[in-house]
């Protein structure tokens, strides 16, 4: 072995050593969320669930000396682990719970299991566990709306109580307490963080019973950090916990009777479908094995801002073989031949299919980012999420009503040579759900963030186009879906404009 080979060997060894290094990814933390206003005017805002008005929150205890001593001890004895937890939750308890709901949506977004015989053949049965909801887009939009309403309604009551008693934060009551978060002039009784943690915990536990322990642990930490940080007294937390819990129960009562339990009545659907006559072949499942249509009666679920689905039902789709029909199918075939990488990216960017938080979850992410940038008060942020998510729920109801009124086939069913890079949803085409969700989102978010309105509209149109690019929808599904979504979103805007914001 000569010197050259030895040198080469050393160089290669060094290369190996470098390659073998541990790798890590920097995850950007949003940092502390410091609201720019207290928004006392929110005490006059109307809750979505009228029963919230009647709730009574007891007055805060007058003697807080023992509680202050507890907070002082907690602050003094804080551990590194507790500091990490404080950083996690001070990035916004509200938005953190929004993220938790998105995580659960993605985790449970799995279609019911197709049962098989011992020989591997399908029995035609689909096994769903009642404790494991299938967080498909309609289900998920309803979940986000219920969460948004529960949080918002509980916070309205909390704001009323806050400005009624005007109890100061512990670091104001005792100047020797140095909080781990930015000081706030917002009255601290009851704790808005505890309100959100309790309402989110209980509502999400109702929807995802298997997550009870996880949600309880998250809520406990969200409340505990307020004490560790010197930001709230234990009585602030207890009152918030109680209020959030009570409002969550009201939201759960609403959910039990909103029509969701009847939305998947397949026997009734068979009868209804038999009576529908169309010029085109009825939609059929393109999955293997074929699945029953997803939630054929979701169009009858109660809406939040629109009187009923008929008020925003789309006109009938083009007739089979009409000029418009043929033009749209020709576009699908053209996209089989020629599709740019950018069109593919757009198709994938907005897909939000199985195993994800669905299109309403994607828009929740957009909304959360803009809320963060605007530094809205917690209640104004909750208002945005409530109005926006009820609009998403309404868009799902409107869209599903239209889908199961006209039951149009997907492009692949009409022409099997049309294939996809994205998952094909198991329900009729007209109108496009993505277009509905996105247009409704753009309309209502544009109301809250006027400077972003044009950008939202552009995003919504891109999301609508994405379904054409992925060859999952013909263009008319998306064009009409955008119109329908805009109409649904306008109802939410009209409701919001009734109040001084």
């Amino acid at each position: 072995m000569n010197m050259k080979t030895l040198t080469l060997g050393l160089a290669a060894f060094l290369f190996l050593a470098v390659v073998g290094c541990d790798k890590s990814i920097d995850v950007t933390q949003p940092g502390e969320y410091v609201p720019s206003a207290n928004d006392e005017l929110a005490t006059a805002w109307a809750p979505f669930l009228a029963d919230t008005n009647a709730l009574v929150v007891p007055a805060p205890p007058a003697d807080v000396s023992a509680e202050l001593a507890m907070v002082k001890a907690a602050v003094a004895g804080r551990t590194a682990k507790q500091n990490t937890a404080i950083a996690r939750w001070s990035s916004s308890t509200l938005l953190r719970w929004c993220e938790i709901s998105q995580d659960l949506a993605a985790k449970y977004n799995v279609a019911p299991y197709a049962e098989r015989s011992a020989d591997g053949s399908f029995t035609g049965k689909f096994i769903s566990d009642p404790n494991k909801p299938f967080t498909n887009p309609p289900y998920t939009s309803r979940m986000y709306a219920l969460l948004g309403v529960a949080n918002y309604d509980a916070l309205i009551k909390a704001w009323q109580v806050k400005f009624k008693y005007n109890r100061a934060a512990p670091y104001v009551l005792d100047a020797s307490i140095s909080p781990a978060i930015t000081k706030s002039t917002l009255p601290s009784y009851p704790s808005e963080d505890a309100v959100i943690a309790a309402s989110a915990r209980d509502l999400l536990t109702f929807l995802f019973p298997l997550e009870k322990e996880y949600l309880a642990q998250q809520a406990k930490e969200a409340m505990d950090v307020r004490i560790w940080a010197g930001a709230n007294l234990p009585s602030d937390i207890a009152a918030g916990d109680s209020l959030g819990h009570t409002v969550a129960l009201l939201a759960i009562e609403y959910a039990k009777t909103d029509g969701m339990s009847k939305a998947n009545d397949q026997a009734r659907w068979k009868t209804k479908e038999a009576a529908i006559t169309t010029s085109y072949p009825h939609w059929t499942s393109q999955e293997t094995p074929a699945r029953p249509p997803m939630l054929p009666f979701f169009g009858e679920v109660k809406m939040w801002n629109v009187p009923n689905a008929q008020a925003v039902r789309s006109s009938p789709p083009p007739e089979f073989g009409s000029a418009r029909w043929n033009k749209d199918m020709d576009e699908m075939r053209e996209l089989m031949k020629n599709r740019t990488r950018e069109q593919v990216r757009i198709a994938n960017y907005w897909e939000d299919g199985g195993g994800t938080y669905c299109p309403p979850g994607h828009w929740n992410l957009i909304a959360a980012n803009d809320i963060r940038a605007a530094k809205f008060s917690t209640i104004r942020a909750a208002r945005v999420l409530a109005f926006f998510n009820t609009a998403e729920h309404d868009a799902a109801v409107a869209c599903w009503d239209t889908k199961y009124t006209y039951i149009t086939p997907r492009p692949h069913q009409v022409d099997p040579s049309i294939t996809m890079s994205a998952g094909l949803p198991n329900f009729p085409g007209y109108t496009s759900g993505h277009s509905n969700y996105s247009a409704a989102a753009a309309t209502i978010l544009g109301h809250f963030f006027p400077a972003r309105a044009a950008s939202y509209t552009a995003m919504a149109l891109e999301a609508a186009d994405s379904r054409v690019y992925s060859r999952i929808h013909v263009r008319v599904d998306c064009e009409v879906g955008v119109t329908q979504g805009n109409a649904v979103g306008s109802y939410a805007v009209q409701r919001a404009m009734k109040e001084k914001e």
Partner: protein
């Protein structure tokens, strides 16, 4: 000693594999005299869904010698592993991956080789509504250097080599779908290779281990996600007689990562597999600078990859020698 050995250089890519050919001759004089018998080796390997796996042969190319290879491979699976459980998806049926690959292997000096590989891949499913994905995948560059050699008078030898490689996507292909041609990561590969060969019988054994580091990738959904690193260990036994024959076993283990979740493969999936295979190569009698090869590979057990079988064929050409670099 008329030992001219060509060995396979293997590389596996996500859901498909690429076979690398790696010609080696030992001593340019042999080529000049046309007394040489060649060997070639070639190809094979594969994998289904385990992203790029490295595997260099234990035969050096020889200063100034260059080989080129064109190979075709076909890999199929209908069952795949989610974590440790094997399953199938009737909505996808059988996933087939076909690839055509070009390889160049050159001996820069007597102790340093350069390998370049370029695959074109097409992946499709037999059932359901999924589109076929085709495109240029990742280009690879490898350097292999001999750091130690023991040689007996009869030409038997023990060689120790280090290999280092870089692979990176040539096209912006989709990397997050049930049917894809790769994960789109840029990979760094470092490995140690030990080979012993007995000159009297032509038998050899090789063992190697490598670490493949993969960059995070941006998926079309707009997120950057981590692609796990892998450590592999492999062994090969073969014969460099009038024909070339080998059999090998390869095991790779992801160093981090997730199981396939909710039925959807994802670039973060930890991909492990144990695979066996074999290769045969023949020199063409009337065109001694050409050889052909065939190979197959089979996954015995795995996590988060398809249980695939792969066949490959290639034609190899030894270019005229150019003398090598003078160091």
């Amino acid at each position: 000693m008329l030992v001219v050995v060509l060995m396979p250089f293997y590389r596996t890519l996500e859901t498909r594999t690429i076979a690398l050919v790696d010609f080696s001759t030992e001593g340019i004089n042999l080529m000049r005299t046309s007394l040489w018998w060649t060997i070639v080796a070639l190809c094979v390997l594969t994998a289904t869904s385990a992203r790029s796996q490295g595997m260099l042969s234990g035969f050096m190319q020889g200063s100034g010698n260059t080989g080129a290879s064109l190979s075709y491979s076909s890999e199929q699976y209908s069952k795949y592993y989610i974590g440790d459980s094997i399953t199938d998806n009737p909505g996808l049926g059988t996933i087939s991956t076909r690839s055509a690959s070009l390889y160049l292997v050159g001996g820069l000096t007597s102790f340093l080789d350069l390998v370049v590989a370029l695959p074109y891949i097409s992946a499709s499913s037999s059932a359901g509504y999924w589109e076929t994905i085709t495109g240029l995948q990742d280009i690879s560059f490898y350097l292999r250097g001999r750091i130690f050699q023991l040689k007996t008078e009869d030409g038997s030898s023990l060689d120790v080599m280090l290999g280092g490689g870089l692979s990176t996507p040539l096209s912006h292909y989709q990397n997050n779908a049930p049917v894809t041609i790769g994960h789109g990561s840029t990979n760094l590969d470092g490995r140690l290779i030990v080979q012993a060969r007995d000159a009297s019988t032509g038998l050899f054994v090789m063992a190697q281990s490598g670490y493949i580091h993969r960059s995070a990738v941006t998926i079309d959904r707009g997120f950057d996600v981590v692609v796990p690193d892998n450590i592999d260990v492999s062994a090969r036994i073969g014969w460099t007689g009038p024909v070339y024959l080998d059999a090998w076993i390869y095991n790779t283990v992801g160093q981090s990562g997730t199981d396939i979740g909710t039925g959807v493969p994802f670039p973060t999936n930890r991909q492990n597999f144990l695979q066996v295979g074999g290769t045969a190569a023949w020199q063409l009698p009337f065109l001694p600078q050409f050889s052909i090869n065939a190979g197959m590979a089979y996954i015995l057990t795995a996590q988060n990859v398809g249980k695939s079988t792969r066949f490959s064929f290639g034609i190899n050409y030894n270019l005229p020698t150019w003398g090598g670099m003078q160091l």
